[in-house]
């Protein structure tokens, strides 16, 4: 096995699982430490730099960081990273002074943003401080996109949304609302130096089965229905509601229905419970509000009487895996299942539609009707046009949209300065600094908290269910937030090994609580993985290997998998061969390479 090249920033980046797993690569341990130190405003700004919407994401993020959190591999549950983000947002001071200053003298470049959701707003956030003039177009009455139209108020209060959206609009974005852009050509004909398309995936999938047209008055497409609730066009729903689909939109639909008069609300979904796409916590929250889940039911027909919906028929299926391991839904043959209902909400997915983009302007589309977009630069085949968010590669989530839009902003900035959007792309900003303060003292709290994940308090259920604007999750207070913050293992405090200093005394091997460190004769990685003190079966996690050591010709091998970053190896090292060094990885933002 070759010695690990720790000069490659991606090696230690991968060790910080949460940051690596976050599409925007938010330095999670960094802001969690700030929360523990009660520096909420600082923690908020670390987030704001990286993910633009800390208050919003602290409530609604899909949390790709949490399933990969190292804590989840050494005990039951990961750190509640998302909820800690909210602690920073809830307790911060006024941040307006800390927001970037917008130059009064513009740089002479004009950019149009189509759509006013998280992607477009992120591009504006990154380009406004550089002196760009920005026009934003959206067909809704206010900015925010799906964050406003699809996420119910009981999960995301409008004040939180407005605050973070306004930080950006107040930079001087020239926003035009209630305006549907129906031609890209007409936009391109104006004198924009670049156009960014962040129009999301605005079309909810329909379910074309018998009875759909006849009973249409009581059949609603989920995201459209949620939008009409958000904009207060819809204020009630029937007593018996069926929600079709198993994703997060379905969860929002059923919980909203519960608040608008739905008494008997059921989720009906084709797949089994475990395979439902909704995040586990959203399923839990829906169940806690007495929503019934019916799994393995395939919709067959909307049943109507005299043009009015009265129920739906389903076929019961079971999941069977064939010889190739493919999953099939096979009818059980029990005969149709009939469920009475007053309203149906269809939440079975979303599509992109680009009817407003002319197909003869040099912007290529693929066979699935999606624009051809470069995965790194987010540039389309029409050089002046960039995509980001759900509009680029289909429905994902807010944090992905933010991450993509930051990259698109870099590309726009490079493009507007006549640079190559790939070749001139900046690398990440990385620092690696020793945390040693004294003989056995570190600048971070290396004592590991043994506490389990803190439960988040909820609003009184009766009150919450009676008013769709009452936020359900109350968030951690300062005390609970501190307790949860202490659970973070500080995975960015890296164990850095200097082989030349090692005297092979074994002290690190003996003290390591999780048996990560080994000294062995070199071999292939596959062999070494089995020879370690505890077998390294998690292949997603790297082995950190040194070069050949002086005294015994062995090498040091550390399995990164369950390292607690407790620093005991470095405390017990007599020669400083081990050191705890803070690895800070920052995704470079637009403007950090283009002067002027």
């Amino acid at each position: 096995m070759k010695a690990t090249d720790i000069n490659n920033p991606e090696y230690f980046h991968k060790v910080v699982d949460c940051q690596y797993g976050c599409p925007a690569h938010t330095p999670v341990p960094e802001y969690i430490r700030l929360i523990a130190a009660k520096q909420y405003t600082d923690a908020y700004m670390v987030n704001w730099e990286s993910n633009v919407f800390p208050g919003i994401l602290g409530r609604t993020c899909d949390r790709p960081c949490e399933p990969v959190c190292r804590r989840g591999r050494v005990e039951e549950k990961p750190v509640a990273i998302c909820r800690l983000k909210r602690v920073a947002a809830d307790n911060k001071d006024d941040v307006t002074e800390r927001l970037p200053k917008i130059p009064t003298r513009k740089n002479g470049k004009k950019v149009a943003l189509i759509g006013g959701g998280p992607a477009s707003l992120t591009v504006a956030r990154d380009l406004m401080p550089l002196g760009y003039s920005i026009d934003l177009y959206d067909d809704q009455a206010k900015a925010g996109g799906m964050m406003r139209s699809q996420i119910p108020s009981f999960r995301l209060p409008p004040e939180v949304l407005d605050e973070e959206v306004n930080y950006i609009l107040d930079m001087g974005v020239n926003a035009t609302f209630n305006t549907y852009v129906d031609s890209l050509k007409s936009v391109l004909d104006k004198d924009y130096d670049a156009v960014f398309i962040g129009t999301g995936a605005p079309s909810g999938k329909n379910l074309d089965i018998p009875g759909r047209n006849e009973a249409t008055a009581n059949i609603h497409v989920g995201i459209e229905w949620l939008a009409s609730v958000a904009f207060e066009h819809t204020g009630s729903i029937g007593k018996r509601v069926l929600v079709l689909g198993g994703g997060n939109t379905a969860m929002d639909c059923c919980r909203t229905a519960k608040r608008l008069g739905g008494e008997d609300v059921k989720i009906v979904v084709r797949s089994e419970f475990e395979k439902m796409k909704a995040s586990p916590w959203e399923k839990e929250d829906a169940m806690a509000e007495y929503v019934e889940f019916l799994n393995c039911h395939v919709p067959q027909e909307f049943v109507h009487e005299e043009g009015k919906l009265v129920g739906m028929r389903f076929e019961k299926v079971e999941v069977v895996y064939d010889e190739q391991g493919r999953r099939n839904l096979v009818p059980t043959g029990e005969g149709p299942i009939y469920l009475e209902c007053d309203d149906v909400l269809i939440a079975i997915g979303q599509d992109n539609t680009f009817p407003w983009i002319e197909r003869d302007i040099g912007l290529e589309f693929n066979r699935r009707g999606m624009p051809v977009v470069d995965k790194v630069s987010f540039q389309s085949s029409c050089q002046r046009v960039f995509f980001g968010g759900d509009a680029a590669f289909g429905p994902e989530n807010i944090i992905t949209a933010v991450a993509q839009a930051q990259q698109a902003a870099i590309s726009i900035d490079l493009f507007c300065h006549g640079k190559d959007v790939i070749q001139d792309r900046p690398g990440p900003g990385v620092t690696l600094t020793s945390q040693k303060m004294g003989v056995h003292e570190w600048s971070y709290d290396n004592q590991i908290s043994n506490d389990g994940r803190v439960h988040v308090p909820h609003a009184d259920k009766e009150k919450a269910l009676s008013d769709r604007k009452v936020e359900v999750e109350l968030g951690f207070d300062i005390e609970l937030g501190f307790k949860e913050a202490e659970r973070c293992l500080n995975c960015d405090a890296q164990t850095v090994f200097t082989g030349e200093k090692c005297i092979e005394c074994d002290a690190c091997v003996d003290i390591c609580p999780t048996d990560c460190i080994n000294f062995l004769m070199n071999g292939s990685e596959k062999e070494l993985r089995q020879q370690l003190r505890a077998p390294a079966n998690n292949r997603d996690q790297d082995l950190y290997a040194s070069g050949k050591l002086k005294q015994t010709s062995r090498i040091m091998i550390k399995d990164e998998n369950v390292c607690l970053h407790c620093g005991l190896c470095a405390e017990r090292c007599p020669t400083g061969a081990w050191d705890m060094q803070k690895f800070l990885y920052n995704v470079t933002k637009a403007g950090q390479t283009c002067a002027g």
């Binding site: 056995h440 074994d506 505890a534 369950v562 007599p574």
Partner: protein, 349 residues
């Protein structure tokens, strides 16, 4: 500074026959200097006891005074312990062993505790063949009092202070062989591959088992001029490779003919010696003494199992004590009453 170890452990840690994991054999976090050889020895004892599936409550750890003698606090936290007077651990071990022959006795001592203040007690416990493992954590200096030369420091060896030692050393292995020890080994704290099987064999051995473990003092005696530093030992040691195969286990490794030697122990376990040691006669006391001497003459250090008696008879056997531990005898068993006393007295008239 950390005063406790986090409680989280590797989720795939193996369990032994008792269903225990290594965690169950841990002690308090060490307060010895970082890099001290003694901590490695503690870990080796822990590993050996774990792998032998010894119930922690069946072990008694005994020690005297010194850095070495602090170390029993850092392993087998659920076992019995007695931190005794300087150089007097053998007396306490003898008393404890006579009172309860059912426990496994592990004595931890240092070069000062054994070769200086305690050399008299050491010699007599060897002679008596008390059933125990006697570990000397030998670093050639008095670490706890700032690194003065100890009685095992080699002539000419210099600690951090820089002045070469002026006196001839006591070689504890040679001394033990001379006094009739029934199990004698030498090892190095930085070589657990050899040390752990030696500990297992020593625990299995019925009688007195000495392991003289060279254990560098990182703070005072790990200099280029010292003969007990990590680098010096690694470049001057001739290591016999040793394996220990417990009674119940099949031997699954196969060795080339002539490269290995199997030595059976009283309970059916066996010790395997490899390579250089394959033709070494482990039962020849004279040869062991010569081998130790010959290596020393060449400036080398011979490590491994040097001698093991064929027919070790421990102190209980010599004294012909009852099989039941004395501390478990009831009063009526211990004191059969005046009728028996009278009959004894009658027999002497």
């Amino acid at each position: 500074m950390s005063y406790s170890k986090p409680k989280f452990r590797h989720p795939d840690l193996p369990k032994n026959e008792l269903g225990l994991s290594k965690t169950d054999y841990e002690g308090a976090i060490s307060t010895l200097c970082a890099g001290c050889g003694h901590d490695s020895i503690s870990a080796a004892i822990l590993n050996a006891c774990f792998e032998m599936s010894i119930e922690p409550h069946r072990v008694a750890k005994l020690s005297g005074i010194g850095c070495s003698s602090k170390s029993p606090a850092y392993f087998l936290g659920k076992s019995h312990g007695f931190n005794s007077v300087h150089g007097r651990m053998p007396s306490v071990a003898t008393g404890a062993n006579l009172a309860n022959r059912d426990l496994i006795y592990i004595g931890i001592s240092g070069d000062g505790d054994t070769a200086s203040i305690g050399v008299g007690q050491f010699m007599h416990v060897v002679r008596r063949n008390l059933d125990m493992l006697y570990m000397v954590e030998n670093n050639g200096c008095y670490g706890l009092t700032k690194g003065q030369d100890s009685a095992t420091s080699d002539l000419g060896s210099a600690t951090k202070k820089g002045r070469p030692n002026m006196y001839e050393p006591i070689d504890l292995v040679a001394l033990a062989l001379r006094l009739g020890a029934t199990f004698v080994a030498r090892s190095f704290s930085g070589d657990k591959k050899q040390l752990e099987p030696l500990i297992k064999a020593a625990i299995t051995h019925k009688g007195f088992a000495l392991i003289d473990v060279i254990s560098p003092c990182v703070t005072f005696n790990n200099t280029a001029t010292s003969t007990k530093g990590y680098e010096y030992i690694r470049s001057h040691a001739d290591n016999m490779e040793v394996d220990f195969v417990p009674m119940r286990e099949e031997i699954c490794t196969s060795y080339k003919a002539g490269t290995t030697q199997q030595v059976c122990m009283h309970d059916g376990s066996s010790v395997h010696l490899h390579k250089t040691a394959a033709d070494f006669d482990i039962h020849d006391r004279q040869a062991a003494m010569e081998a130790v001497y010959d290596h020393k003459k060449e400036g080398r250090i011979l490590t491994g199992l040097l001698y093991m008696a064929h027919d070790s008879e421990d102190l209980h056997k010599v004294l012909d004590t009852v099989p039941k531990p004395l501390n478990a005898l009831r009063e009526d068993e211990l004191c059969p009453g005046s009728r028996f006393l009278n009959s004894i007295n009658e027999g002497l008239r």
